[in-house]
Protein backbone atom coordinates (compact mmCIF):
# COMPACT_ATOMS: atom_id res chain seq x y z
CA UNK A 1 0.00 0.00 0.00
CA UNK A 2 1.37 3.39 -0.93
CA UNK A 3 0.95 5.53 2.17
CA UNK A 4 2.28 8.55 0.31
CA UNK A 5 -0.41 8.84 -2.33
CA UNK A 6 -2.93 11.65 -2.01
CA UNK A 7 -5.91 9.33 -2.16
CA UNK A 8 -4.53 7.28 0.75
CA UNK A 9 -4.05 10.45 2.80
CA UNK A 10 -7.64 11.47 2.05
CA UNK A 11 -9.09 8.10 2.98
CA UNK A 12 -6.98 7.91 6.14
CA UNK A 13 -7.99 11.40 7.27
CA UNK A 14 -11.68 10.78 6.72
CA UNK A 15 -11.52 7.42 8.46
CA UNK A 16 -9.69 8.87 11.46
CA UNK A 17 -12.05 11.81 11.82
CA UNK A 18 -15.16 9.66 11.56
CA UNK A 19 -13.82 7.17 14.11
CA UNK A 20 -12.77 9.79 16.63
CA UNK A 21 -16.02 11.73 16.31
CA UNK A 22 -18.15 8.60 16.72
CA UNK A 23 -16.26 7.62 19.86
CA UNK A 24 -16.74 11.10 21.32
CA UNK A 25 -20.40 11.25 20.30
CA UNK A 26 -21.17 7.94 21.97
CA UNK A 27 -19.31 8.95 25.11
CA UNK A 28 -21.01 12.34 25.33
CA UNK A 29 -24.45 10.78 24.99
CA UNK A 30 -23.67 8.11 27.57
CA UNK A 31 -22.40 10.59 30.13
CA UNK A 32 -24.98 13.28 29.55
CA UNK A 33 -27.32 12.32 32.36
CA UNK A 34 -24.61 11.97 34.98
CA UNK A 35 -23.21 15.34 33.95
CA UNK A 36 -26.58 17.06 34.19
CA UNK A 37 -27.16 15.51 37.60
CA UNK A 38 -23.74 16.73 38.73
CA UNK A 39 -24.46 20.23 37.45
CA UNK A 40 -27.83 20.28 39.19
CA UNK A 41 -26.21 19.20 42.46
CA UNK A 42 -23.67 21.98 42.04
CA UNK A 43 -26.50 24.47 41.56
CA UNK A 44 -28.22 23.23 44.70
CA UNK A 45 -25.03 23.60 46.68
CA UNK A 46 -24.68 27.18 45.48
CA UNK A 47 -28.27 27.98 46.46
CA UNK A 48 -27.53 26.64 49.94
CA UNK A 49 -24.25 28.54 50.15
CA UNK A 50 -25.96 31.79 49.15
CA UNK A 51 -28.62 31.18 51.77
CA UNK A 52 -26.00 30.41 54.39
CA UNK A 53 -27.20 26.85 54.92
CA UNK A 54 -23.78 25.38 54.20
CA UNK A 55 -20.24 26.66 54.03
CA UNK A 56 -18.12 26.58 50.90
CA UNK A 57 -16.27 23.28 50.65
CA UNK A 58 -18.72 21.43 52.92
CA UNK A 59 -17.36 17.90 53.06
CA UNK A 60 -20.60 16.08 53.81
CA UNK A 61 -21.42 13.34 51.30
CA UNK A 62 -23.67 14.12 48.36
CA UNK A 63 -26.84 12.26 49.49
CA UNK A 64 -26.76 14.11 52.80
CA UNK A 65 -26.50 17.51 51.12
CA UNK A 66 -29.22 16.60 48.64
CA UNK A 67 -31.47 15.62 51.54
CA UNK A 68 -30.69 18.91 53.26
CA UNK A 69 -31.65 20.81 50.12
CA UNK A 70 -34.89 18.93 49.86
CA UNK A 71 -35.74 19.64 53.46
CA UNK A 72 -34.70 23.26 53.82
CA UNK A 73 -35.16 24.75 50.34
CA UNK A 74 -38.44 25.13 48.49
CA UNK A 75 -38.96 26.42 44.99
CA UNK A 76 -41.83 28.80 44.46
CA UNK A 77 -43.17 30.45 41.32
CA UNK A 78 -43.66 34.20 41.39
CA UNK A 79 -45.96 36.15 39.08
CA UNK A 80 -43.78 39.22 38.60
CA UNK A 81 -46.69 41.31 37.28
CA UNK A 82 -48.29 41.66 40.68
CA UNK A 83 -45.94 39.81 42.98
CA UNK A 84 -48.35 37.03 43.82
CA UNK A 85 -47.36 33.38 44.09
CA UNK A 86 -48.50 30.85 41.50
CA UNK A 87 -49.18 27.19 42.02
CA UNK A 88 -46.39 24.74 41.42
CA UNK A 89 -42.66 24.28 41.99
CA UNK A 90 -41.10 22.93 38.82
CA UNK A 91 -39.44 24.38 35.74
CA UNK A 92 -42.03 22.75 33.46
CA UNK A 93 -44.80 24.56 35.27
CA UNK A 94 -43.00 27.91 34.82
CA UNK A 95 -42.74 27.25 31.09
CA UNK A 96 -46.42 26.33 30.88
CA UNK A 97 -47.52 29.39 32.86
CA UNK A 98 -45.39 31.70 30.75
CA UNK A 99 -46.72 30.17 27.54
CA UNK A 100 -50.25 30.84 28.71
CA UNK A 101 -49.45 34.39 29.80
CA UNK A 102 -47.71 35.25 26.55
CA UNK A 103 -50.72 34.07 24.59
CA UNK A 104 -52.80 36.69 26.34
CA UNK A 105 -50.12 39.36 26.09
CA UNK A 106 -46.80 38.74 24.29
CA UNK A 107 -45.08 41.13 26.71
CA UNK A 108 -45.62 38.65 29.51
CA UNK A 109 -43.52 35.86 28.04
CA UNK A 110 -41.31 35.98 31.11
CA UNK A 111 -43.85 37.00 33.71
CA UNK A 112 -43.59 33.88 35.82
CA UNK A 113 -40.24 33.14 37.42
CA UNK A 114 -39.02 30.53 39.80
CA UNK A 115 -37.19 31.47 42.98
CA UNK A 116 -35.97 29.43 45.92
CA UNK A 117 -36.82 29.96 49.54
CA UNK A 118 -34.74 28.76 52.45
CA UNK A 119 -36.16 27.68 55.79
CA UNK A 120 -34.71 27.30 59.26
CA UNK A 121 -34.64 23.98 61.08
CA UNK A 122 -38.08 24.67 62.59
CA UNK A 123 -39.67 25.68 59.30
CA UNK A 124 -39.52 29.47 59.52
CA UNK A 125 -38.85 31.40 56.28
CA UNK A 126 -35.26 32.49 56.52
CA UNK A 127 -34.01 33.34 53.05
CA UNK A 128 -35.31 34.38 49.66
CA UNK A 129 -32.92 33.27 46.97
CA UNK A 130 -33.25 35.04 43.65
CA UNK A 131 -31.51 33.86 40.49
CA UNK A 132 -29.32 36.58 39.00
CA UNK A 133 -27.56 36.37 35.68
CA UNK A 134 -26.11 38.61 33.04
CA UNK A 135 -23.08 39.55 31.02
CA UNK A 136 -19.66 40.07 32.53
CA UNK A 137 -16.68 40.66 30.28
CA UNK A 138 -16.36 37.37 28.39
CA UNK A 139 -19.33 35.39 29.45
CA UNK A 140 -22.75 35.20 31.01
CA UNK A 141 -22.57 34.90 34.77
CA UNK A 142 -25.08 32.78 36.65
CA UNK A 143 -25.61 33.10 40.35
CA UNK A 144 -27.91 33.45 43.30
CA UNK A 145 -28.54 36.44 45.51
CA UNK A 146 -30.07 35.54 48.86
CA UNK A 147 -32.05 38.07 50.89
CA UNK A 148 -33.16 37.86 54.50
CA UNK A 149 -36.82 37.27 55.19
CA UNK A 150 -37.22 41.07 55.53
CA UNK A 151 -36.61 41.29 51.76
CA UNK A 152 -34.02 43.99 52.32
CA UNK A 153 -30.76 42.71 53.79
CA UNK A 154 -28.49 40.62 51.61
CA UNK A 155 -27.75 37.21 53.05
CA UNK A 156 -25.23 36.11 50.50
CA UNK A 157 -24.32 35.89 46.85
CA UNK A 158 -22.86 32.99 44.88
CA UNK A 159 -21.87 32.56 41.27
CA UNK A 160 -21.92 29.01 40.02
CA UNK A 161 -21.24 29.38 36.32
CA UNK A 162 -19.13 31.88 34.44
CA UNK A 163 -16.24 32.12 32.01
CA UNK A 164 -14.40 35.14 33.39
CA UNK A 165 -10.60 35.28 33.61
CA UNK A 166 -9.35 33.33 36.63
CA UNK A 167 -7.72 35.74 39.09
CA UNK A 168 -9.44 38.82 37.64
CA UNK A 169 -13.14 38.60 36.84
CA UNK A 170 -13.08 35.06 38.19
CA UNK A 171 -12.63 36.56 41.65
CA UNK A 172 -16.42 36.92 41.82
CA UNK A 173 -16.21 33.41 43.26
CA UNK A 174 -13.74 34.49 45.93
CA UNK A 175 -15.36 33.87 49.34
CA UNK A 176 -13.70 36.96 50.76
CA UNK A 177 -15.41 39.12 48.17
CA UNK A 178 -18.81 37.45 48.35
CA UNK A 179 -18.65 37.84 52.15
CA UNK A 180 -18.67 41.62 51.64
CA UNK A 181 -22.20 41.41 50.28
CA UNK A 182 -23.55 40.07 53.53
CA UNK A 183 -25.65 42.62 55.41
CA UNK A 184 -25.88 45.15 52.56
CA UNK A 185 -29.33 46.60 51.94
CA UNK A 186 -31.19 46.76 48.64
CA UNK A 187 -33.74 49.38 49.80
CA UNK A 188 -32.85 52.94 50.74
CA UNK A 189 -34.27 54.79 53.75
CA UNK A 190 -37.43 55.68 51.82
CA UNK A 191 -38.00 52.04 50.96
CA UNK A 192 -37.08 52.43 47.28
CA UNK A 193 -35.15 49.74 45.49
CA UNK A 194 -31.56 50.87 44.93
CA UNK A 195 -29.87 47.46 44.79
CA UNK A 196 -26.26 46.86 45.74
CA UNK A 197 -23.60 48.31 43.48
CA UNK A 198 -20.05 47.15 42.97
CA UNK A 199 -17.92 50.24 43.40
CA UNK A 200 -14.75 50.99 41.51
CA UNK A 201 -12.18 50.89 44.28
CA UNK A 202 -12.88 50.61 47.97
CA UNK A 203 -16.04 51.52 49.82
CA UNK A 204 -15.68 54.73 51.84
CA UNK A 205 -16.43 53.63 55.40
CA UNK A 206 -17.32 57.15 56.51
CA UNK A 207 -20.34 57.53 54.21
CA UNK A 208 -23.25 55.54 55.69
CA UNK A 209 -25.19 55.20 52.42
CA UNK A 210 -22.11 53.83 50.72
CA UNK A 211 -21.51 51.28 53.45
CA UNK A 212 -25.13 50.17 53.07
CA UNK A 213 -25.42 49.91 49.31
CA UNK A 214 -21.92 49.38 47.88
CA UNK A 215 -19.30 46.66 47.90
CA UNK A 216 -15.61 46.93 46.99
CA UNK A 217 -14.78 46.60 43.31
CA UNK A 218 -12.63 43.81 41.99
CA UNK A 219 -9.19 45.02 40.97
CA UNK A 220 -8.55 44.47 37.30
CA UNK A 221 -12.12 43.45 36.63
CA UNK A 222 -14.00 46.70 36.05
CA UNK A 223 -16.21 45.35 33.30
CA UNK A 224 -17.17 42.24 35.25
CA UNK A 225 -17.89 44.43 38.30
CA UNK A 226 -20.07 46.81 36.28
CA UNK A 227 -21.85 43.85 34.75
CA UNK A 228 -22.63 42.43 38.18
CA UNK A 229 -24.02 45.79 39.38
CA UNK A 230 -26.13 46.11 36.29
CA UNK A 231 -27.72 42.68 36.23
CA UNK A 232 -28.25 42.46 39.99
CA UNK A 233 -30.23 45.72 39.78
CA UNK A 234 -32.12 44.53 36.71
CA UNK A 235 -33.04 41.18 38.26
CA UNK A 236 -34.08 42.81 41.54
CA UNK A 237 -36.28 45.20 39.55
CA UNK A 238 -37.84 42.25 37.80
CA UNK A 239 -38.88 40.91 41.19
CA UNK A 240 -39.77 44.31 42.65
CA UNK A 241 -43.50 43.63 42.85
CA UNK A 242 -42.80 40.50 44.86
CA UNK A 243 -40.14 42.14 47.02
CA UNK A 244 -42.36 45.09 47.90
CA UNK A 245 -45.12 42.80 49.10
CA UNK A 246 -45.03 42.60 52.86
Amino acid sequence: MNTKSNSYVMVFTIGLCVTVSSVLAVLATELKETQLAAAEFDRQKNVMMAAGLIERGDSRPRPELEALYKKRVKSIIVDTRDGSLAEGDSKEQVVALNAKASEADPKDANAFRMIETGFTEDGRLDAIILPVSGKGLWSTLYGYLALDADKNHVKGIQFYKHGETPGLGGEIENPEWTAMWKGKEILNDKGELVSVTVKKGKVNESIPSEVKHYVDGLAGATITSNGVSKFVLRDLQAFSTYLQKK
Binding site: F12, L31, A38
Partner: protein
Amino acid sequence: MTSIAAPETKKAPLFGEEEKRVILDPLLDQNPITLQVLGICSALAVTTRLDVSIVMGISVIAVMAMANVTISLLRNLIPSKIRIIVQLVVVSGAVIIVDQVLRAYAFDLAKQLGVFISLIITNCIVMGRLEAFAMQNPPWRSLLDGIGNGLGYAWIICVVGAFREVFGSGKLLGYEIIPDAMYEAGYVNNGLMVLAPGAFILLGVIVWVLRWIRGYTEN
Protein backbone atom coordinates in the same frame (compact mmCIF):
# COMPACT_ATOMS: atom_id res chain seq x y z
CA MET B 1 13.36 3.24 7.60
CA THR B 2 14.43 2.69 11.18
CA SER B 3 10.97 2.04 12.43
CA ILE B 4 11.25 -1.71 11.89
CA ALA B 5 13.67 -2.09 14.78
CA ALA B 6 14.29 -5.51 16.35
CA PRO B 7 11.77 -7.91 14.80
CA GLU B 8 9.61 -9.25 17.59
CA THR B 9 9.92 -12.91 16.76
CA LYS B 10 10.64 -14.40 20.13
CA LYS B 11 8.28 -13.52 22.87
CA ALA B 12 9.90 -10.68 24.75
CA PRO B 13 9.33 -10.56 28.52
CA LEU B 14 6.48 -8.27 29.57
CA PHE B 15 8.75 -6.35 31.89
CA GLY B 16 12.24 -6.63 30.43
CA GLU B 17 15.14 -4.25 30.98
CA GLU B 18 13.95 -2.03 28.17
CA GLU B 19 10.43 -1.73 29.61
CA LYS B 20 11.74 -0.87 33.05
CA ARG B 21 13.93 1.82 31.58
CA VAL B 22 11.05 3.23 29.57
CA ILE B 23 8.84 3.68 32.61
CA LEU B 24 11.47 4.67 35.20
CA ASP B 25 13.65 7.05 33.20
CA PRO B 26 11.08 9.84 32.95
CA LEU B 27 10.63 9.85 36.72
CA LEU B 28 14.08 11.25 37.39
CA ASP B 29 16.77 11.08 34.74
CA GLN B 30 14.59 12.17 31.85
CA ASN B 31 11.90 13.97 33.79
CA PRO B 32 9.80 16.00 31.34
CA ILE B 33 9.54 18.99 33.67
CA THR B 34 12.87 19.18 35.41
CA LEU B 35 15.13 18.03 32.59
CA GLN B 36 13.31 18.77 29.44
CA VAL B 37 11.49 21.76 30.96
CA LEU B 38 8.23 20.97 29.18
CA GLY B 39 4.67 21.49 30.36
CA ILE B 40 5.65 24.40 32.58
CA CYS B 41 2.55 26.47 31.84
CA SER B 42 0.07 24.07 33.38
CA ALA B 43 2.52 23.22 36.17
CA LEU B 44 2.31 26.86 37.23
CA ALA B 45 -1.40 27.27 36.73
CA VAL B 46 -3.04 24.31 38.40
CA THR B 47 -0.85 23.75 41.43
CA THR B 48 -2.46 26.00 44.03
CA ARG B 49 -3.88 22.97 45.81
CA LEU B 50 -2.80 19.36 46.09
CA ASP B 51 -6.15 17.80 45.10
CA VAL B 52 -6.28 19.81 41.89
CA SER B 53 -2.68 18.82 41.10
CA ILE B 54 -3.48 15.15 41.66
CA VAL B 55 -6.47 15.24 39.32
CA MET B 56 -4.47 17.16 36.72
CA GLY B 57 -1.66 14.58 37.04
CA ILE B 58 -4.05 11.67 36.61
CA SER B 59 -5.65 13.37 33.61
CA VAL B 60 -2.30 13.86 31.91
CA ILE B 61 -1.33 10.23 32.60
CA ALA B 62 -4.62 9.06 31.10
CA VAL B 63 -4.30 11.28 28.05
CA MET B 64 -0.70 10.24 27.42
CA ALA B 65 -1.46 6.54 27.82
CA MET B 66 -4.44 6.70 25.45
CA ALA B 67 -2.70 8.84 22.85
CA ASN B 68 0.56 6.90 22.94
CA VAL B 69 -1.16 3.54 22.46
CA THR B 70 -3.40 4.79 19.66
CA ILE B 71 -0.57 6.42 17.75
CA SER B 72 1.65 3.40 18.27
CA LEU B 73 -1.04 1.10 16.85
CA LEU B 74 -1.44 3.35 13.84
CA ARG B 75 2.24 4.14 13.43
CA ASN B 76 2.72 2.17 10.22
CA LEU B 77 -0.50 3.49 8.69
CA ILE B 78 -0.09 7.18 9.37
CA PRO B 79 1.01 9.05 6.23
CA SER B 80 4.13 10.97 7.26
CA LYS B 81 2.91 14.10 5.48
CA ILE B 82 0.10 14.60 7.94
CA ARG B 83 1.45 12.85 11.01
CA ILE B 84 1.47 15.92 13.27
CA ILE B 85 -2.16 16.72 12.58
CA VAL B 86 -3.09 13.08 13.08
CA GLN B 87 -1.35 13.16 16.47
CA LEU B 88 -3.25 16.30 17.33
CA VAL B 89 -6.59 14.71 16.47
CA VAL B 90 -5.83 11.71 18.67
CA VAL B 91 -4.63 13.88 21.56
CA SER B 92 -7.69 16.13 21.31
CA GLY B 93 -9.94 13.11 21.31
CA ALA B 94 -8.27 11.72 24.44
CA VAL B 95 -8.45 15.10 26.19
CA ILE B 96 -12.16 15.45 25.43
CA ILE B 97 -12.77 11.96 26.82
CA VAL B 98 -11.00 12.88 30.07
CA ASP B 99 -12.82 16.22 30.25
CA GLN B 100 -16.25 14.63 29.79
CA VAL B 101 -15.57 11.93 32.37
CA LEU B 102 -14.38 14.51 34.90
CA ARG B 103 -17.46 16.63 34.33
CA ALA B 104 -19.66 13.64 35.05
CA TYR B 105 -17.85 12.25 38.07
CA ALA B 106 -15.80 15.09 39.58
CA PHE B 107 -17.77 18.20 38.76
CA ASP B 108 -16.21 20.44 41.41
CA LEU B 109 -12.67 19.62 40.39
CA ALA B 110 -13.55 19.91 36.71
CA LYS B 111 -14.82 23.41 37.46
CA GLN B 112 -11.62 24.22 39.34
CA LEU B 113 -9.41 22.98 36.54
CA GLY B 114 -11.64 24.63 33.97
CA VAL B 115 -9.81 25.40 30.81
CA PHE B 116 -6.59 23.67 31.86
CA ILE B 117 -7.94 20.21 31.12
CA SER B 118 -8.62 21.27 27.54
CA LEU B 119 -5.18 22.82 27.44
CA ILE B 120 -3.55 19.41 27.96
CA ILE B 121 -3.86 19.30 24.17
CA THR B 122 -1.15 21.93 23.95
CA ASN B 123 1.06 20.32 26.60
CA CYS B 124 4.33 19.74 24.77
CA ILE B 125 5.06 16.59 26.78
CA VAL B 126 2.17 14.79 25.08
CA MET B 127 3.08 15.71 21.51
CA GLY B 128 6.74 15.27 22.28
CA ARG B 129 6.32 11.67 23.39
CA LEU B 130 4.08 10.82 20.44
CA GLU B 131 6.55 12.14 17.93
CA ALA B 132 9.69 10.89 19.68
CA PHE B 133 8.50 7.55 20.99
CA ALA B 134 5.10 6.23 19.95
CA MET B 135 5.79 6.73 16.23
CA GLN B 136 8.67 4.23 16.43
CA ASN B 137 7.70 1.79 19.17
CA PRO B 138 5.16 -1.00 19.68
CA PRO B 139 1.98 -0.36 21.71
CA TRP B 140 2.98 -2.00 25.01
CA ARG B 141 6.18 -0.02 25.31
CA SER B 142 4.41 3.13 24.20
CA LEU B 143 1.82 2.63 26.90
CA LEU B 144 4.57 2.34 29.51
CA ASP B 145 6.32 5.38 28.09
CA GLY B 146 3.09 7.38 28.27
CA ILE B 147 2.43 6.35 31.85
CA GLY B 148 6.06 6.93 32.83
CA ASN B 149 6.17 10.44 31.42
CA GLY B 150 2.74 11.20 32.83
CA LEU B 151 3.97 10.09 36.26
CA GLY B 152 7.11 12.16 35.86
CA TYR B 153 4.92 15.20 35.25
CA ALA B 154 2.39 14.27 37.94
CA TRP B 155 4.77 13.81 40.84
CA ILE B 156 6.46 17.13 40.23
CA ILE B 157 3.20 19.08 40.12
CA CYS B 158 1.99 17.22 43.20
CA VAL B 159 5.08 18.28 45.12
CA VAL B 160 4.60 21.87 43.98
CA GLY B 161 0.88 21.66 44.80
CA ALA B 162 1.53 20.29 48.29
CA PHE B 163 4.08 23.02 49.08
CA ARG B 164 1.81 25.76 47.79
CA GLU B 165 -1.21 24.54 49.70
CA VAL B 166 0.67 24.16 52.97
CA PHE B 167 2.48 27.48 52.84
CA GLY B 168 -0.14 29.40 50.90
CA SER B 169 -3.28 28.44 52.78
CA GLY B 170 -2.09 26.36 55.73
CA LYS B 171 -3.97 23.28 54.57
CA LEU B 172 -3.28 19.97 52.91
CA LEU B 173 -6.02 18.33 50.86
CA GLY B 174 -8.42 20.75 52.53
CA TYR B 175 -7.47 19.84 56.12
CA GLU B 176 -5.94 22.46 58.39
CA ILE B 177 -2.44 21.31 59.18
CA ILE B 178 -0.89 24.44 60.57
CA PRO B 179 -2.21 24.64 64.15
CA ASP B 180 -4.18 27.69 65.29
CA ALA B 181 -1.56 28.33 67.93
CA MET B 182 0.91 29.18 65.17
CA TYR B 183 -1.42 31.82 63.76
CA GLU B 184 -1.97 33.25 67.21
CA ALA B 185 1.78 33.45 67.60
CA GLY B 186 1.88 35.70 64.55
CA TYR B 187 2.37 33.28 61.70
CA VAL B 188 0.77 34.34 58.40
CA ASN B 189 0.17 32.36 55.25
CA ASN B 190 2.52 33.28 52.46
CA GLY B 191 0.42 35.06 49.85
CA LEU B 192 3.06 34.61 47.18
CA MET B 193 2.50 30.85 47.24
CA VAL B 194 -1.09 31.26 46.04
CA LEU B 195 0.04 33.23 43.00
CA ALA B 196 1.78 31.91 39.90
CA PRO B 197 5.20 33.44 40.76
CA GLY B 198 5.26 31.27 43.89
CA ALA B 199 4.98 28.18 41.73
CA PHE B 200 7.65 29.54 39.44
CA ILE B 201 10.13 29.91 42.29
CA LEU B 202 9.27 26.48 43.72
CA LEU B 203 9.63 24.86 40.33
CA GLY B 204 13.01 26.54 39.87
CA VAL B 205 14.17 25.18 43.21
CA ILE B 206 12.95 21.67 42.34
CA VAL B 207 14.70 21.74 38.97
CA TRP B 208 17.89 22.86 40.66
CA VAL B 209 17.72 20.27 43.45
CA LEU B 210 16.97 17.41 41.04
CA ARG B 211 19.71 18.40 38.63
CA TRP B 212 22.14 18.74 41.47
CA ILE B 213 21.26 15.31 42.89
CA ARG B 214 21.59 13.65 39.47
CA GLY B 215 24.72 15.62 38.62
CA TYR B 216 23.26 16.95 35.39
CA THR B 217 24.93 19.81 33.62
CA GLU B 218 23.78 21.74 30.60
CA ASN B 219 26.32 21.50 27.79
